[in-house]
Subunit: 562 residues, 2 copies
């Protein structure tokens, strides 16, 4: 068998290595347009801060090593320019010389990836505009930033790459502005959760311009559609990626509804002899039940293995994708899986969510911190659809549990009873994920009612009644303006003070005490009481960024982020 | 409804709090023999090193707070001495005065816990012998250690409490010896994995006497059945716990086959009006399909909620327990879930395991370290039965994923495809848990054969042929004596050197390269080749402790732990 692979890195190199393990005799050749056949994509931004000290370290394996270790040929600086399906061959061009030649295949694997999408604005082709796709790109950006003594950098786009680039440049001492067209960075998170990230950027001196679009790039500055002009000696564009489909299109291969290469469950394209994997294809979303694009390294590696297996008759069950991811943003660890509430609602699903703040480990332990956890579930089935976790502690652990549950069709009932490993050093006996499920079942089963953190400002503006059940000292250290303060410890003696002629929205710091207060009130005959999911800590964190940005009147007398 | 609760802490206090949330009118009284109704059990050992600076911090809530926040009565220093089932009352004794009184109940909840088991040896009642069950115990131990200027301490028992006590005392500068009757500490782990913990104790100056029993305690020393005498100015006994069943037994309640209180799936005892939760009961093991005792805080809290719910007609599905746990041992994070290989074999199950060593995060990232991961699965079903993880990184995360899968009846196929959150800071695109499942499916489906790390020494002693496929420099820096060295990068040119007349056991550092080597050999016609699960790093780590302890001849020329 002779297999040609277009493109290295996660998809291509993994396919080739798997083929070799299945077939010692197969002839396998990887073609890579650039100089590096294997590098750590996801680590590229970390070179900008020096966490990855040299760009050579980003290169995982060279063609000599590929040959020696796996007996795989890797031809770098050679671009595949055409697929000739009739005679099962490809046309390859030497990037340096322009010479072309043909190479025949039994099976062809397309792993061309996706290229950074460029906005159609004046100046986009300027020499101080950069993208981050490969080692050469990051070397160019880093070289420019260092040699040109660049001080001010605009990062266009607040997704994974944009935010990681912004953070690492900030750590290198640069003045960084992130420009984001929609009203939030990191689209996998809901706005309420992402406000914590917005605040974190602000706190670390990264300027964020959200809800505005880039209109023009000039030397030393960029223009936004708000009229604002941002100083920018260098511009990094990271607004998204576009699948590399031109080879496939030219060869008449079918594309899917997302515009990416269409494959079946075994990663076979519309041509039986051609497979495709990685960022250039579309995959089936297990929760949304439709094809999506998902440019992530983990799924690419799994696709690679499945494609190689299929060539050798080995079946692979395809469960679709759910889209798990994580990112560090300065002091916060952030992770998400499945779909968020916004996506679920856009898909027309009937959903609800809970936002739970709980200690990431026992409070007595060093570095115990609040973990912010949002769980999205289907109503009335209780099926878990997604989750988002943000905190200084182990957020990715909680999300991996939810990712596992989603894949196994888990419900709130499964999650509430889940028996997770516990030691005071790593968690609490009832983990935040258990707690979220308990709260959610209470709501799903109608044991109490809640309002979401995003409801708080509208309610406040309508003059709603908030009941703050924290202790007086806590109340004095910041509270919702006009809120009534009756500490939980006094509530049973002071129930007469709780209004009955209107809805009462109850909160404390993290919604634990207010939950007890709501149940006490409800079981004492108060029918119109609501727990505020996320409570005061959540309110402060989600309100702060917009208040500061817009010079908006805060709804709290004083913020308290502890 | 009037509910009496015997015993506070995780089980009792949680039951009471849940009752209050369900029923504002219920009269609930918690009885606690000791002075503290609510404290952080699991944090007790951390007071010994000062991580928890004062013992007061261990106390979570006092009776005044219980009353104020939850309207619950908590009567401390009052011991329940009898249950009078006929008239549904209990007899309570004031610990200080000896006075008794009766209190009637509609429902009674037993949450008496378990007391430290004491070995029947001379001197066990001495004033320098301590146990660790509650805040009073830890204050006594800490007071003695500090005031008596104790230098040498023997900890009898190498379970969770024993090891945590030993570590925290060591951190306080004491000479600590752990005495363990069986040949290993931490029974939830298999011997191969636990050797890493043994080494860690050794490396941090904690002496371990495993496979020996305590025979006598004297002033300043303890005697072991090996004849050895250990200097010990203080002795901490932590060999296990015995459920507190005397109240239940005296009242004629049924005990289970484990000797703990028997309950049904709703935590109702053989008396419909009496519930029991926590360390005093036996629970049903989901994998072993039999009742077991499981003294852990997480399950206790879940039982508490379920019991309270049941009183109010709320159903709770009972999925049984799987036994997830975690512990930090100096620089290592350790976690385990389900059953280990030894337990599975003792239960007569047909199982196999893989031991995978993989980076806990991308190698380029700061503090990337090997994670040691053992996965136990059923043959031929591939059902996941348990896992153990040890490393300087995030071991508990990986175990929580497996705990979730086990609960959802997951198989190797589910695990290999699991789409977990990934960023270079937190993991690798193909996580160690995915990798373990991939290796295990390869073995289950007969794609290659392996031997376990525990087979290596016996094979070595039989003169077996080991093929080390690491590079020459790595080989020179320590290898199995008499091993053949053919680097993977040269293997295809030197296959003629690989013996065909006998089995060949192939390894590298972490079994990745050797896996490729095994496949290359197999696919080239070599039929008698085996991959060594765990490879050289695993061999060094599992051999080292016993070699040092017994002055045993190492099977390696030099250890390499990196």
């Amino acid at each position: 068998m002779k297999v040609l692979v277009v493109g290295g890195v996660a998809g291509g190199a993994s396919t080739a290595a798997r083929i070799r393990r299945l077939d010692e005799q197969a002839e396998v050749i990887i073609f890579e347009r650039g100089p590096h056949v294997s590098f750590s994509n996801c680590s590229l931004p970390f070179h900008l801060s020096g966490i990855v000290p040299t760009s050579e370290k980003l290169i995982l394996m060279d063609p000599v090593q590929f040959k020696k270790k796996y007996n795989l040929a890797a031809r770098v600086s050679q671009e595949v320019v055409a697929i000739n399906r009739q005679n099962k061959s490809i046309t390859v061009k030497h990037v340096m010389t322009g010479e072309t030649y043909e190479e025949s295949y039994d099976k062809l694997v397309l792993s061309p990836g996706a290229h950074p999408t460029l906005p159609n604005v004046d100046g986009i082709k300027s020499s101080h505009v950069f993208t981050v796709r490969n080692v050469v790109d990051i070397e160019k950006l880093q070289g420019y930033v260092q040699l040109a003594a660049v001080e001010n950098i605009a990062v266009i786009g607040g997704g994974f790459i944009g935010i990681e680039v912004a953070e690492n440049l900030r750590k290198a001492g640069k003045n960084v502005t992130v420009v984001q067209r929609s009203n939030q960075i990191m689209a996998s998170y809901d706005l309420d959760m992402v406000q914590i990230m917005h605040k974190e950027l602000l706190d670390h001196g990264v300027a964020l311009e959200a809800g505005v679009a880039l209109t023009k790039i000039e030397e030393g500055k960029v223009h936004l559609d708000s009229g604002k002009v941002i100083a920018a000696d260098a511009v990094v564009v990271a607004i998204g990626v576009t699948p590399e489909t031109h080879l496939a299109v030219d060869a008449g291969l079918e594309l899917g509804i997302t515009g990416a290469i269409k494959v079946d469950g075994n990663y076979v394209t519309s041509d039986d002899s051609i497979y495709a994997v990685g960022d250039a294809i579309e995959v089936y979303h297990r929760i949304l039940h439709k094809p999506v694009r998902l440019a992530l390294a983990g799924p690419a590696q799994k696709q690679a293995r499945a494609a190689a297996d299929h060539m050798y008759g080995i079946t692979n069950r395809n469960k679709g994708v759910i889209g798990s991811s994580s990112i560090r943003i300065f002091d916060y660890n952030c992770a998400a899986t499945g779909i968020n509430e916004k996506e679920a609602k856009e898909a027309g699903m009937q959903v609800d969510s809970v936002y739970v703040i709980a200690p990431d480990k026992v409070g007595l332990m060093p570095s115990s911190n609040p973990l912010h956890f949002k769980l999205v579930y289907e109503v009335p089935t209780g099926k878990i659809l997604g989750a988002q976790a943000i905190g200084k502690g182990n957020a990715d652990k909680r999300i991996d549990v939810i990712a596992t549950l989603i894949t196994m069709d888990g419900t709130l009932e499964d999650l509430k009873d889940l028996e997770l490993s516990y030691s005071p050093m790593y968690g609490t006996a009832k983990d935040v994920v258990n707690m979220a499920a308990l709260v959610a079942t209470n709501i799903l089963y109608g044991r109490f009612k809640q309002v979401h953190i995003t409801d708080v400002r509208p309610l406040f503006e309508q003059g709603a009644t908030f009941l703050d059940v924290r202790e007086v000292k806590e109340f004095e250290n910041g509270h919702i303006k006009n809120a009534i303060n009756i500490p939980l410890s006094e509530l049973r003696d002071r129930m007469a003070e709780v209004p009955t002629d209107r809805p009462v929205y109850v909160h404390c710091r993290s919604a634990q005490r207010s939950y007890n207060a709501v149940m006490a009130l409800k079981n004492s005959g108060f029918t119109n009481v609501y727990n505020v999911s996320g409570s005061f800590l959540g309110i402060c964190l989600t309100e702060y960024y917009t208040d500061v940005r817009d010079g908006r009147e805060p709804i709290v007398t004083k913020y308290n982020f502890k």
